[in-house]
């Protein structure tokens, strides 16, 4: 059990930038033991993926420089090996699975051909017909239904989870000693993630394989890993037994990382506060057209018959997997997508879906949206002050100095240094950008904010800051939130009420407390179960 399979010693990796070298991994050493699962944990930019890719020397040759150190595997130093020698190791002795199942399979080739290729490259098969039983056996092993028939499928015919299963089959078909899994489940829904993790665990057990598992999700680490290695900005902070590290972290940063749960549930709001938005029979259907005359033959019911009520100062959490229609729901309410039904807003209960252009424009300032990707939601060509002031310029006639005053005030509210307002978004980190996006929405003093996965692209520790900010703004201004997320922990920390959506329909709705403690619908139960214990 305790013999060392792969040993990294004093590894330093740098990237060439213009003339200078930027070190991304610094003096890193750890061992991988036979049959264990080592979880490499860290926030984005901590160098965990670079470490993993260095093992097989997969980093782009023209920009990556291996400054020092060695990676020993099977009596050889991989860093000093020739390309030919490395090719014999890659996919044969050491395999890798990547995060994005969509792009790591060749879209133009059948899965049989792709599996056969990894066998053939390492001389384990020469003819496709002879290799077929083995391929079928592996597809079966990774849980592909009816493998015989799926051999000639192309990647786009498979679901995200199935693609990741095929990737695993491809990586393991040569029965490698070491498997490097680089965030293999991050792009998947939680229920699928649980299946994939279970599969990996099973296969590891069957083949006595060593797994280096890269992730930022501590729930996965807790249930999967034997040992944990924590990385921060290129340095290895600590390595140790999983239970030990979790119980008594040696390093401050580790403690911070482990304790950064998104926070307590929000305080109750009084039952007396007025209803701000009342939605009934909301339908957003996209027509499916066929034939030369493009007649509508059917509809994709992205949001089907949804109803809810939202009061001032209240947060409605919308939960569901990808494709469940939660984003469409948010955009429908903002009328970024046309839909039918009733959405009574404010005291007059005027229907949002029947407003004309002019009435809509005045309401635009009261209903705002914040997007998931803080990199995409700010125009790279405008300075922060222009971005934040955009809404003011549309809705109010103010002088330049008045606008500037308001911008400074709102930036202070979201805790961005107002002196930085003339800089451009690329100079800010993800968390700061999300604050700027919040400032842009807030400057118009809205009453309702639609938050579309506002924290999903952020690291755990930054997530916590943003959530605290959102909560304090809510209690200060009595904002109502529609909080869309797939991350149940975050939703728990934000929401008073919750809608659980599945394929465009609300399967369960109720107060957050009831839903989390006593879920009634089967789907909600699996969702909760797969988050709390991914295995």
């Amino acid at each position: 059990m305790s013999d060392v399979v792969l040993s990294i010693k004093n590894l330093s990796v740098a990237f060439r930038q213009e003339q200078a070298l930027r070190t991304v991994v610094e003096d890193l050493s750890f061992d991988l033991l036979r049959g264990e699962t080592l979880a490499l944990v860290g926030e984005s930019g901590s160098g965990k993926s670079v470490t993993a890719q260095s093992i097989l020397k997969l980093l782009p040759e023209h920009s990556a420089v291996y400054q020092s150190g060695s990676i020993e595997f099977g009596g050889e130093n991989l860093l000093a090996s020739s390309e030919r020698a490395l090719q014999r190791v890659r996919g044969n002795k050491i395999s890798m699975i990547f995060q994005e199942p969509m792009t790591s399979l060749n879209p133009l080739q059948t899965i049989e051909k792709q599996l056969f290729e990894s066998l053939m490259l390492h001389g384990k098969a020469t003819q496709r017909e002879r290799a077929r039983p083995k391929i079928v056996q592996w597809l079966q092993r990774v849980g592909i239904q009816d493998p015989q028939r799926r051999l000639s499928s192309l990647p786009h015919e498979l679901s995200g989870g199935e693609r990741q299963r095929v990737m695993i089959a491809m990586a393991l078909v040569n029965e490698p000693d070491v498997l490097i899994a680089d965030e293999p489940t991050t792009a998947l829904d939680v229920t699928v993630q649980a299946q994939i993790l279970r599969l990996l665990k099973q296969l590891q057990h069957d083949f006595n394989m060593t797994v280096l598992f890269i992730t930022h999700d501590l729930n996965i680490v807790r249930s999967l890993a034997d040992r944990v290695a924590i990385m921060q900005s290129g340095k290895l902070l600590e390595v140790g037994d999983q239970t030990q590290v979790f119980a008594s972290p040696q390093h401050d940063y580790t403690g911070m990382l482990l304790s950064s749960s998104p926070g307590e549930p929000p305080p109750h709001i009084s039952d007396q506060s007025d209803v701000l938005l009342k939605v009934e029979e909301l339908n957003t259907w996209f027509p499916i057209k066929a034939g030369i005359f493009k007649r509508t033959v059917d509809h994709v019911k992205a949001v089907n018959n949804v109803a809810f009520e939202l009061r001032h100062g209240e947060t409605l959490g919308v939960v569901g997997e990808s494709g469940s229609g939660k984003t469409t729901l948010g955009r429908s309410i903002l009328r970024l997508i046309e839909s039918r039904g009733f959405a009574g807003y404010g005291r007059e209960q005027s229907n949002l879906f029947e407003l004309d252009r002019k009435a809509l424009k005045t309401l635009r300032r009261e209903i705002q949206i914040i997007f998931q990707d803080p990199y995409g939601s700010l125009s790279p060509r405008m300075s922060v002050s222009d971005i934040v002031a955009e809404g003011l310029r549309v809705h109010e006639r103010l002088t330049a100095s008045e606008i500037d005053e308001r911008v400074v005030a709102v930036l202070e509210k979201v805790r961005i240094d107002p002196d930085a307002r003339h800089r451009y978004p690329n100079e800010f980190s993800g968390g700061q950008r999300q604050r700027i996006a919040i400032a842009r929405a807030l400057i118009l003093k809205p009453k309702l904010l639609v938050l579309d996965e506002p924290t999903s692209a952020l690291d755990r520790s930054v997530q916590k800051d943003v959530i605290e900010l959102l909560k304090s703004l809510q209690s200060e201004y009595g904002l109502a939130y529609i909080f869309i997320s797939h991350d149940l922990e975050v939703v728990r920390a934000m929401s008073h009420k919750i809608l659980v959506m599945y394929r465009g329909v609300v399967v369960e709705a109720g107060s957050a407390e009831d839903l989390f403690t006593r879920p009634t619908h089967e789907y909600t139960k699996t969702l909760l179960a797969s988050v709390n214990s991914p295995l």
């Binding site: 970024l336 809509l360 424009k361 997007f371 998931q372 125009s379 060509r381 955009e390 809705h395 451009y424």
Partner: protein
């Protein structure tokens, strides 16, 4: 300049070939722009009888210099030159011919080879090749520039409207474009040339009429992509009007793709003009044009100085533009800015 543009300019400068090409092109363009002062059959300045005369900008009668008839002065005429030199002096431009001047004092029959009077020789009508090159270069660049600016404005506008509104407008616009772009431009030009003598402006309008589609596709695609970007959605949710949305958020995106194409559009505009001139459907006979010189070179193969000169000039101009274009493309490549 925003940091993004600063970085782009920096990257453009780092491409040595493109950067040098840009300077070389600008030098050539700025030098040929005042072609009248560089190559002319009238002196730049005359001092005669205590007065200054500027024949380049103003026409004078022979009588003013003591000639016999009230006709416009021919300064190359030895008799008139003698009269002027008696009571003053003449300052000639470096090349004492303009594009249509026939050198009547040739020692050999036209086309005559390069000599110290006609540095690049003369064509078969005794006109100075260098003077014609300078004027031809200017016409080509100006024509290319104007055509490029006009096609860009129309193309970007059409692409923007189609991409932004999509749906029926896009569908109809695309079909119209397909029909329009299948009209054979050359035949239309030949027909028009048989009815009116094409001038600079008529050619510009016709080539514009059939050339404005070049950028529509790129801009349309860019708009279709960008109108669903998060920051455009965010602006829409703020209630920003369509026009502001187009100009402030979408157009800058599309401009990147457009700017990449501009030097290449210019190359093709210059090539079209040259080709038309070569075939004889271009600028009116006698005007300075590179295409007409190419055809002279072809007809007078035994006088290689014509063909070689115009070939070098054209090759230089087009290569410079292509090099600039490549450098611009690398500098604004969105895959590298992200």
């Amino acid at each position: 300049m925003s940091p993004l543009n600063k970085e782009r300019w920096h990257r453009f400068k780092k491409n040595r070939r493109g950067y040098i090409s840009l300077w070389l092109f600008l030098c050539l363009f700025l030098m040929t722009l005042p072609a009248e002062f560089l190559a002319n059959d009238a002196p730049l300045m005359i001092r005669y009888d205590g007065d200054f005369y500027f024949p380049v900008v103003k026409e004078y009668s022979e009588l003013e210099f003591g000639g016999d008839f009230d006709i416009s002065a021919e300064y190359t005429d030895p008799y008139l030159a003698g009269l002027i030199n008696e009571k003053g002096w003449m300052l000639w431009p470096p090349i004492p011919f303009d594009y249509s001047t026939r050198n009547s004092n040739l020692t050999q029959p036209a086309p005559s080879p390069p000599s110290d009077v006609n540095w690049l020789g003369t064509d078969d009508q005794g006109r100075d090749v260098l003077a014609r090159l300078i004027y031809g270069f200017r016409v080509s660049v100006l024509f290319g520039l104007m055509l490029t600016i006009a096609t860009s404005i129309i193309g970007v506008a059409a692409g923007a409207v189609q991409g932004f509104y999509g749906g029926k407008i896009d569908l109809i616009g695309q079909r119209l474009l397909e029909v329009w772009s299948s009209v054979p431009t050359l035949f239309v030009l030949i027909i028009i040339a048989s009815m009116v003598t094409p001038s600079f402006w008529i050619l510009l309008v016709i080539l514009l009429l059939f050339g404005w589609m070049a950028l529509v596709g790129v801009v349309r695609a860019e708009f279709l992509r960008a109108r669903n970007l998060d920051y455009v959605m965010a602006a829409r949710a703020l209630g920003v009007a369509d026009r502001t949305l187009i100009f402030r958020h979408l157009l800058p995106n599309a401009m990147v793709a457009t700017i990449t194409f501009v030097p290449f559009v210019m190359v093709s505009a210059i090539t079209s003009l040259t080709a038309l001139d070569f075939l004889g459907f271009g600028l009116p006979p006698g005007s300075a044009s590179l295409g007409e010189m190419v055809s002279q070179g072809k007809n007078n193969l035994y006088a290689p100085w014509i063909g070689i000169s115009v070939f070098v000039a054209l090759a230089l101009l087009l290569s410079l533009l292509v090099f600039i274009g490549e450098a611009v493309r690398d500098a604004v490549d969105p895959n590298r800015t992200r």
